[in-house]
Protein backbone atom coordinates (compact mmCIF):
# COMPACT_ATOMS: atom_id res chain seq x y z
CA UNK A 1 0.00 0.00 0.00
CA UNK A 2 1.48 3.28 -1.10
CA UNK A 3 1.11 5.84 1.64
CA UNK A 4 -0.21 9.24 0.69
CA UNK A 5 2.60 11.50 -0.47
CA UNK A 6 2.93 15.25 -0.03
CA UNK A 7 3.61 17.67 -2.91
CA UNK A 8 7.02 19.34 -2.84
CA UNK A 9 8.45 22.15 -4.96
CA UNK A 10 11.97 23.30 -4.47
CA UNK A 11 14.93 24.65 -6.39
CA UNK A 12 18.08 22.52 -6.38
CA UNK A 13 21.31 24.04 -7.64
CA UNK A 14 19.29 26.68 -9.44
CA UNK A 15 16.98 24.19 -11.15
CA UNK A 16 13.30 23.92 -10.11
CA UNK A 17 12.11 20.46 -9.06
CA UNK A 18 8.59 19.35 -8.40
CA UNK A 19 7.41 16.03 -7.06
CA UNK A 20 6.07 14.24 -4.02
CA UNK A 21 7.46 12.48 -0.98
CA UNK A 22 6.13 10.61 2.04
CA UNK A 23 6.03 12.71 5.19
CA UNK A 24 8.84 10.81 6.86
CA UNK A 25 11.26 10.91 3.92
CA UNK A 26 14.28 13.05 4.72
CA UNK A 27 15.66 15.74 2.43
CA UNK A 28 18.77 13.56 2.14
CA UNK A 29 16.80 10.64 0.72
CA UNK A 30 14.78 12.92 -1.54
CA UNK A 31 17.98 14.34 -3.04
CA UNK A 32 19.57 10.93 -3.52
CA UNK A 33 16.59 8.80 -4.49
CA UNK A 34 14.13 11.10 -6.21
CA UNK A 35 16.34 13.82 -7.64
CA UNK A 36 19.25 11.48 -8.41
CA UNK A 37 21.82 13.72 -6.75
CA UNK A 38 23.93 11.14 -4.99
CA UNK A 39 26.85 13.43 -4.15
CA UNK A 40 25.37 14.07 -0.73
CA UNK A 41 26.09 11.09 1.52
CA UNK A 42 24.52 9.36 4.48
CA UNK A 43 27.11 8.61 7.16
CA UNK A 44 25.20 8.25 10.39
CA UNK A 45 21.63 9.34 9.70
CA UNK A 46 21.36 11.13 13.03
CA UNK A 47 23.13 14.41 12.43
CA UNK A 48 26.49 13.66 13.97
CA UNK A 49 28.86 13.10 11.04
CA UNK A 50 28.04 15.91 8.61
CA UNK A 51 28.33 13.78 5.45
CA UNK A 52 24.79 14.88 4.55
CA UNK A 53 25.46 18.63 4.81
CA UNK A 54 23.74 20.72 2.14
CA UNK A 55 22.93 24.43 1.97
CA UNK A 56 19.26 25.37 2.37
CA UNK A 57 18.27 29.01 1.92
CA UNK A 58 21.86 30.03 2.46
CA UNK A 59 22.49 27.97 5.60
CA UNK A 60 24.41 24.67 5.84
CA UNK A 61 22.16 22.05 7.44
CA UNK A 62 22.15 18.31 8.17
CA UNK A 63 19.83 16.98 5.47
CA UNK A 64 19.33 13.69 7.32
CA UNK A 65 17.53 15.60 10.04
CA UNK A 66 15.28 17.56 7.72
CA UNK A 67 12.12 16.18 6.19
CA UNK A 68 11.81 16.57 2.44
CA UNK A 69 8.53 18.35 2.96
CA UNK A 70 10.26 20.92 5.18
CA UNK A 71 12.33 21.93 2.15
CA UNK A 72 9.21 22.85 0.17
CA UNK A 73 9.73 26.33 -1.23
CA UNK A 74 13.45 26.34 -0.43
CA UNK A 75 16.62 26.92 -2.40
CA UNK A 76 18.86 23.92 -1.92
CA UNK A 77 22.51 23.65 -2.91
CA UNK A 78 24.34 20.35 -3.08
CA UNK A 79 27.93 19.57 -4.00
CA UNK A 80 26.94 18.92 -7.61
CA UNK A 81 26.09 22.60 -7.92
CA UNK A 82 29.57 23.77 -6.98
CA UNK A 83 30.97 22.92 -10.41
CA UNK A 84 30.15 25.81 -12.74
CA UNK A 85 30.54 25.58 -16.49
CA UNK A 86 32.55 22.44 -16.06
CA UNK A 87 35.04 24.13 -13.72
CA UNK A 88 35.67 23.13 -10.12
CA UNK A 89 35.01 25.89 -7.63
CA UNK A 90 38.09 27.55 -6.06
CA UNK A 91 37.41 25.57 -2.89
CA UNK A 92 37.13 22.28 -4.77
CA UNK A 93 40.34 23.11 -6.62
CA UNK A 94 42.05 23.84 -3.32
CA UNK A 95 40.88 20.47 -1.95
CA UNK A 96 42.53 18.80 -4.93
CA UNK A 97 45.76 20.77 -4.63
CA UNK A 98 46.07 20.22 -0.88
CA UNK A 99 45.27 16.49 -0.96
CA UNK A 100 42.20 17.10 1.20
CA UNK A 101 40.37 14.12 -0.33
CA UNK A 102 41.18 10.47 0.43
CA UNK A 103 38.16 8.20 0.38
CA UNK A 104 36.02 11.19 -0.50
CA UNK A 105 33.04 10.26 1.64
CA UNK A 106 33.16 13.29 3.94
CA UNK A 107 34.12 15.57 1.07
CA UNK A 108 30.73 16.73 -0.23
CA UNK A 109 29.56 17.66 3.27
CA UNK A 110 32.94 19.22 4.08
CA UNK A 111 32.79 21.31 0.91
CA UNK A 112 29.30 22.58 1.65
CA UNK A 113 30.18 23.52 5.24
CA UNK A 114 33.38 25.21 4.12
CA UNK A 115 31.80 26.98 1.16
CA UNK A 116 29.05 28.30 3.40
CA UNK A 117 31.72 29.54 5.81
CA UNK A 118 33.64 31.42 3.11
CA UNK A 119 30.44 33.00 1.86
CA UNK A 120 29.50 34.36 5.29
CA UNK A 121 33.06 35.04 6.41
CA UNK A 122 35.59 35.42 3.57
CA UNK A 123 38.54 35.76 5.95
CA UNK A 124 38.08 33.13 8.63
CA UNK A 125 40.71 32.51 11.25
CA UNK A 126 41.93 28.98 11.79
CA UNK A 127 39.68 28.84 14.86
CA UNK A 128 36.69 29.86 12.76
CA UNK A 129 37.53 27.26 10.12
CA UNK A 130 37.70 24.52 12.74
CA UNK A 131 34.42 25.63 14.26
CA UNK A 132 32.71 25.68 10.89
CA UNK A 133 33.74 22.12 10.04
CA UNK A 134 33.43 20.74 13.57
CA UNK A 135 30.23 19.03 12.47
CA UNK A 136 31.95 17.23 9.59
CA UNK A 137 33.86 14.11 10.60
CA UNK A 138 36.71 12.73 8.49
CA UNK A 139 38.23 9.32 9.18
CA UNK A 140 40.99 9.54 6.59
CA UNK A 141 42.86 12.81 6.39
CA UNK A 142 43.33 13.92 9.98
CA UNK A 143 41.81 17.26 8.91
CA UNK A 144 45.08 19.17 8.41
CA UNK A 145 44.91 19.03 4.61
CA UNK A 146 41.24 20.03 4.68
CA UNK A 147 41.96 23.04 6.90
CA UNK A 148 44.90 23.97 4.65
CA UNK A 149 42.64 23.87 1.58
CA UNK A 150 40.03 26.08 3.23
CA UNK A 151 42.71 28.44 4.55
CA UNK A 152 44.12 28.77 1.03
CA UNK A 153 40.73 30.06 -0.12
CA UNK A 154 40.39 32.58 2.71
CA UNK A 155 41.37 35.76 0.84
CA UNK A 156 44.02 37.77 2.54
CA UNK A 157 44.25 35.35 5.42
CA UNK A 158 47.55 35.65 7.31
CA UNK A 159 50.01 32.87 6.51
CA UNK A 160 49.70 29.88 8.81
CA UNK A 161 52.04 30.02 11.79
CA UNK A 162 52.78 26.32 11.87
CA UNK A 163 51.06 23.17 13.11
CA UNK A 164 48.48 23.86 15.79
CA UNK A 165 48.23 21.59 18.75
CA UNK A 166 44.68 21.61 19.96
CA UNK A 167 44.48 21.67 23.75
CA UNK A 168 41.76 19.71 25.43
CA UNK A 169 38.55 21.66 24.88
CA UNK A 170 40.67 24.71 24.13
CA UNK A 171 41.81 25.29 27.71
CA UNK A 172 43.85 23.37 30.20
CA UNK A 173 42.01 21.71 33.01
CA UNK A 174 43.63 22.32 36.35
CA UNK A 175 42.68 22.81 39.92
CA UNK A 176 44.21 26.22 40.50
Amino acid sequence: MREKELPIKLVVNGVPWEGTAPAEMTLLRLLRERIALTGTKEGCGIGECGACTVIVDGRPVPSCLMLAVEADGCQVRTVEGEVRDGELSPLQQAFVEHHAVQCGYCTPGMLMSAQALLERNPHPSDEEILEAIAGNLCRCTGYAAIVAAIRACADGAPPPTGAQRPETNGEEVSRD
Binding site: E3, K4, L6, P22, A23, E24, T26, G45, I46, G47, E48, G50, T53, V56, R59, P60, V61, P62, C64, L65, M66, L67, V69, E70, S113, L130, E131, A132, A134, G135, L137, P166, T168, N169, G170, E171, V173, S174, R175, D176
Partner: protein, 273 residues
Protein backbone atom coordinates in the same frame (compact mmCIF):
# COMPACT_ATOMS: atom_id res chain seq x y z
CA UNK B 1 4.70 0.73 11.59
CA UNK B 2 2.38 3.16 9.84
CA UNK B 3 4.06 6.18 8.38
CA UNK B 4 3.33 9.50 10.07
CA UNK B 5 1.17 12.25 8.64
CA UNK B 6 2.42 15.82 8.44
CA UNK B 7 0.64 19.11 9.02
CA UNK B 8 1.92 22.67 8.98
CA UNK B 9 -0.69 24.97 10.53
CA UNK B 10 -0.13 28.70 10.39
CA UNK B 11 -1.66 29.67 13.74
CA UNK B 12 -1.04 28.62 17.31
CA UNK B 13 -4.73 27.67 17.58
CA UNK B 14 -4.20 25.39 14.61
CA UNK B 15 -1.29 23.72 16.38
CA UNK B 16 -3.32 23.29 19.58
CA UNK B 17 -6.32 21.84 17.71
CA UNK B 18 -4.16 19.23 16.02
CA UNK B 19 -2.59 18.26 19.34
CA UNK B 20 -5.98 18.04 21.02
CA UNK B 21 -7.49 15.96 18.21
CA UNK B 22 -4.59 13.50 18.14
CA UNK B 23 -4.16 13.04 21.87
CA UNK B 24 -0.71 11.70 22.58
CA UNK B 25 -0.04 10.54 19.03
CA UNK B 26 1.19 13.87 17.69
CA UNK B 27 4.73 15.16 17.94
CA UNK B 28 5.68 18.81 17.60
CA UNK B 29 8.30 19.51 14.95
CA UNK B 30 10.48 22.59 15.10
CA UNK B 31 14.17 22.00 14.26
CA UNK B 32 13.68 18.24 14.21
CA UNK B 33 17.24 17.59 15.33
CA UNK B 34 16.10 15.56 18.34
CA UNK B 35 12.77 14.29 16.98
CA UNK B 36 14.09 12.93 13.68
CA UNK B 37 17.02 11.22 15.38
CA UNK B 38 14.60 9.61 17.86
CA UNK B 39 12.30 8.52 15.03
CA UNK B 40 15.28 7.11 13.16
CA UNK B 41 16.22 5.08 16.24
CA UNK B 42 12.57 4.07 16.65
CA UNK B 43 12.43 5.57 20.15
CA UNK B 44 9.26 7.43 19.17
CA UNK B 45 6.71 6.68 16.47
CA UNK B 46 4.35 9.63 16.18
CA UNK B 47 1.29 9.23 14.01
CA UNK B 48 1.26 12.94 13.24
CA UNK B 49 4.02 15.52 12.89
CA UNK B 50 2.88 19.06 13.63
CA UNK B 51 5.34 21.51 12.10
CA UNK B 52 5.30 24.77 14.08
CA UNK B 53 7.51 26.71 11.68
CA UNK B 54 4.51 27.93 9.69
CA UNK B 55 3.33 30.09 12.60
CA UNK B 56 4.79 33.57 12.13
CA UNK B 57 4.76 34.59 15.83
CA UNK B 58 6.82 31.56 16.73
CA UNK B 59 9.65 32.81 14.52
CA UNK B 60 10.11 35.98 16.58
CA UNK B 61 13.24 36.76 18.58
CA UNK B 62 12.59 40.09 20.24
CA UNK B 63 12.97 42.28 23.30
CA UNK B 64 9.66 42.92 25.03
CA UNK B 65 8.75 44.40 28.41
CA UNK B 66 8.81 40.86 29.76
CA UNK B 67 12.38 40.41 28.57
CA UNK B 68 13.99 38.55 25.69
CA UNK B 69 11.34 36.46 24.00
CA UNK B 70 12.60 33.46 21.99
CA UNK B 71 9.88 31.88 19.84
CA UNK B 72 9.59 28.14 19.34
CA UNK B 73 10.78 28.31 15.74
CA UNK B 74 13.85 30.49 16.39
CA UNK B 75 16.99 28.61 15.39
CA UNK B 76 19.97 28.66 17.73
CA UNK B 77 22.29 30.41 15.28
CA UNK B 78 19.97 33.41 15.21
CA UNK B 79 20.56 33.86 18.92
CA UNK B 80 24.31 33.98 18.22
CA UNK B 81 23.82 36.34 15.29
CA UNK B 82 21.34 38.74 16.86
CA UNK B 83 22.11 38.84 20.60
CA UNK B 84 25.30 40.28 21.93
CA UNK B 85 24.29 41.87 25.21
CA UNK B 86 26.87 41.06 27.91
CA UNK B 87 24.26 40.05 30.49
CA UNK B 88 23.27 37.15 28.23
CA UNK B 89 26.86 35.89 28.00
CA UNK B 90 26.23 32.50 29.63
CA UNK B 91 23.34 31.76 27.29
CA UNK B 92 25.22 32.89 24.19
CA UNK B 93 28.26 30.82 25.21
CA UNK B 94 26.07 27.75 25.80
CA UNK B 95 24.34 28.15 22.43
CA UNK B 96 27.72 28.55 20.75
CA UNK B 97 28.90 25.23 22.16
CA UNK B 98 25.74 23.29 21.35
CA UNK B 99 26.23 20.54 18.75
CA UNK B 100 27.66 22.07 15.56
CA UNK B 101 27.04 25.02 13.28
CA UNK B 102 24.84 23.19 10.74
CA UNK B 103 22.79 21.58 13.51
CA UNK B 104 22.23 25.02 15.00
CA UNK B 105 20.80 26.16 11.68
CA UNK B 106 17.87 23.83 12.34
CA UNK B 107 17.77 23.23 16.12
CA UNK B 108 15.79 25.65 18.26
CA UNK B 109 16.31 26.88 21.81
CA UNK B 110 12.72 26.07 22.78
CA UNK B 111 13.23 22.58 21.37
CA UNK B 112 16.39 22.13 23.44
CA UNK B 113 14.42 23.04 26.58
CA UNK B 114 11.26 21.08 25.88
CA UNK B 115 13.13 17.97 24.70
CA UNK B 116 14.47 18.13 28.25
CA UNK B 117 17.56 16.03 27.92
CA UNK B 118 19.57 16.27 31.16
CA UNK B 119 22.50 17.27 28.92
CA UNK B 120 20.66 20.21 27.35
CA UNK B 121 23.18 23.03 27.05
CA UNK B 122 20.76 25.93 27.23
CA UNK B 123 19.11 24.78 30.46
CA UNK B 124 21.78 25.75 33.04
CA UNK B 125 22.10 29.35 31.78
CA UNK B 126 18.33 29.71 31.44
CA UNK B 127 17.85 28.49 35.01
CA UNK B 128 20.54 30.84 36.32
CA UNK B 129 18.80 33.71 34.50
CA UNK B 130 15.35 32.82 35.82
CA UNK B 131 13.91 32.14 32.36
CA UNK B 132 10.47 30.67 31.86
CA UNK B 133 8.57 28.67 29.26
CA UNK B 134 5.20 29.73 27.88
CA UNK B 135 2.74 26.98 27.09
CA UNK B 136 -0.46 27.33 25.12
CA UNK B 137 -3.27 24.80 25.05
CA UNK B 138 -7.03 24.39 24.93
CA UNK B 139 -7.28 25.56 28.55
CA UNK B 140 -5.37 28.77 27.86
CA UNK B 141 -1.79 29.78 28.36
CA UNK B 142 0.57 29.48 31.30
CA UNK B 143 4.15 30.34 32.11
CA UNK B 144 6.46 28.06 34.09
CA UNK B 145 10.07 28.76 35.15
CA UNK B 146 12.46 26.51 33.22
CA UNK B 147 13.85 25.15 36.50
CA UNK B 148 10.34 23.83 37.36
CA UNK B 149 9.22 23.04 33.80
CA UNK B 150 11.65 20.14 33.40
CA UNK B 151 10.80 17.41 35.88
CA UNK B 152 13.09 14.58 34.82
CA UNK B 153 14.90 12.88 31.94
CA UNK B 154 12.92 14.02 28.88
CA UNK B 155 9.93 14.85 31.13
CA UNK B 156 8.28 18.23 31.35
CA UNK B 157 5.12 19.78 32.70
CA UNK B 158 3.79 20.19 29.15
CA UNK B 159 0.52 18.36 28.63
CA UNK B 160 0.06 16.41 25.40
CA UNK B 161 -2.30 19.08 24.07
CA UNK B 162 -0.02 22.01 24.89
CA UNK B 163 2.68 23.62 22.78
CA UNK B 164 5.70 25.46 24.18
CA UNK B 165 5.47 28.71 22.25
CA UNK B 166 8.43 30.62 23.64
CA UNK B 167 11.11 30.90 26.29
CA UNK B 168 11.45 34.29 27.94
CA UNK B 169 14.58 35.54 29.68
CA UNK B 170 13.45 38.25 32.12
CA UNK B 171 15.24 41.61 32.02
CA UNK B 172 18.59 41.24 33.73
CA UNK B 173 20.06 44.07 35.79
CA UNK B 174 22.69 46.21 34.18
CA UNK B 175 26.10 44.97 35.22
CA UNK B 176 24.94 41.35 35.43
CA UNK B 177 27.83 39.01 34.79
CA UNK B 178 27.33 35.44 33.59
CA UNK B 179 29.54 32.63 32.32
CA UNK B 180 29.22 29.05 31.08
CA UNK B 181 31.56 26.10 30.76
CA UNK B 182 30.95 22.79 28.99
CA UNK B 183 33.16 19.75 29.36
CA UNK B 184 33.20 17.43 26.34
CA UNK B 185 35.22 14.41 25.30
CA UNK B 186 36.28 16.09 22.06
CA UNK B 187 36.74 19.59 20.79
CA UNK B 188 33.95 19.36 18.27
CA UNK B 189 30.34 18.22 18.33
CA UNK B 190 29.64 16.41 21.59
CA UNK B 191 27.13 16.38 24.39
CA UNK B 192 28.18 17.88 27.70
CA UNK B 193 29.47 15.32 30.17
CA UNK B 194 29.06 18.18 32.63
CA UNK B 195 28.35 21.89 32.33
CA UNK B 196 28.12 24.84 34.68
CA UNK B 197 26.53 28.28 34.43
CA UNK B 198 27.23 31.07 36.92
CA UNK B 199 25.42 34.38 37.18
CA UNK B 200 25.94 37.41 39.40
CA UNK B 201 23.30 40.14 39.48
CA UNK B 202 24.61 43.20 41.35
CA UNK B 203 21.30 45.05 41.63
CA UNK B 204 19.34 42.13 43.03
CA UNK B 205 22.41 40.75 44.85
CA UNK B 206 21.95 37.32 43.33
CA UNK B 207 24.55 34.64 42.84
CA UNK B 208 23.23 31.59 40.98
CA UNK B 209 24.99 28.42 39.89
CA UNK B 210 23.39 25.82 37.62
CA UNK B 211 24.85 22.46 36.62
CA UNK B 212 24.01 20.36 33.57
CA UNK B 213 24.35 16.65 32.77
CA UNK B 214 24.53 15.68 36.44
CA UNK B 215 20.87 15.41 37.43
CA UNK B 216 17.72 14.25 35.64
CA UNK B 217 15.97 17.56 36.39
CA UNK B 218 17.67 20.99 36.36
CA UNK B 219 20.12 21.71 39.17
CA UNK B 220 20.08 25.32 40.35
CA UNK B 221 21.93 26.37 43.48
CA UNK B 222 21.23 29.76 44.99
CA UNK B 223 24.29 31.32 46.57
CA UNK B 224 22.71 34.73 47.34
CA UNK B 225 23.76 34.47 50.99
CA UNK B 226 27.40 34.62 49.93
CA UNK B 227 26.92 37.43 47.44
CA UNK B 228 29.28 39.77 49.32
CA UNK B 229 31.94 37.12 49.94
CA UNK B 230 31.72 34.40 47.30
CA UNK B 231 33.27 31.27 48.73
CA UNK B 232 34.12 28.86 45.95
CA UNK B 233 34.77 25.94 48.32
CA UNK B 234 31.36 26.32 49.94
CA UNK B 235 29.72 26.79 46.55
CA UNK B 236 31.31 23.60 45.33
CA UNK B 237 30.23 21.73 48.47
CA UNK B 238 26.61 22.78 48.00
CA UNK B 239 26.70 21.79 44.34
CA UNK B 240 28.33 18.42 45.02
CA UNK B 241 25.58 17.72 47.58
CA UNK B 242 22.92 18.56 44.99
CA UNK B 243 24.15 16.54 42.02
CA UNK B 244 24.09 12.79 41.47
CA UNK B 245 25.88 12.12 38.21
CA UNK B 246 25.94 8.70 36.58
CA UNK B 247 28.54 6.52 34.89
CA UNK B 248 27.95 6.36 31.14
CA UNK B 249 29.84 6.22 27.84
CA UNK B 250 30.87 9.85 28.19
CA UNK B 251 32.29 9.89 31.70
CA UNK B 252 32.39 8.32 35.12
CA UNK B 253 30.71 9.68 38.24
CA UNK B 254 34.09 10.67 39.65
CA UNK B 255 35.20 12.49 36.53
CA UNK B 256 31.94 14.42 36.29
CA UNK B 257 32.20 15.54 39.92
CA UNK B 258 35.82 16.48 39.37
CA UNK B 259 35.07 18.49 36.24
CA UNK B 260 32.12 20.26 37.87
CA UNK B 261 34.46 21.45 40.61
CA UNK B 262 37.09 22.60 38.11
CA UNK B 263 34.53 24.49 36.06
CA UNK B 264 33.05 26.16 39.15
CA UNK B 265 36.53 27.30 40.17
CA UNK B 266 37.31 28.63 36.71
CA UNK B 267 34.02 30.52 36.53
CA UNK B 268 34.59 32.09 39.96
CA UNK B 269 38.01 33.24 38.78
CA UNK B 270 36.49 34.64 35.61
CA UNK B 271 33.73 36.37 37.58
CA UNK B 272 36.26 38.07 39.83
CA UNK B 273 37.92 39.36 36.70
Amino acid sequence: MTAPQYERPNTIDGVVSLLAENSGDAALLAGGTDLLAQMRSRLVRPGLLVDVKGVEELRRLEQTDAGLSIGAAVILNRILEEQDRPELAALVQAVGELASYPIRNRATLVGNVTNASPCADTVPPLCAMGASVELQGPRGSRRIPVVEYITGNRETRRAADEVATQVTVPPLSRGTWSGFRKRKRVRGHDLALASVALLRDPERRRLRLAVGSCTPQPCLVELDDMYDRPDVDEANRRVQDGIHPIDDVRASIEYRRDMVEVMIRRLFVEMRG
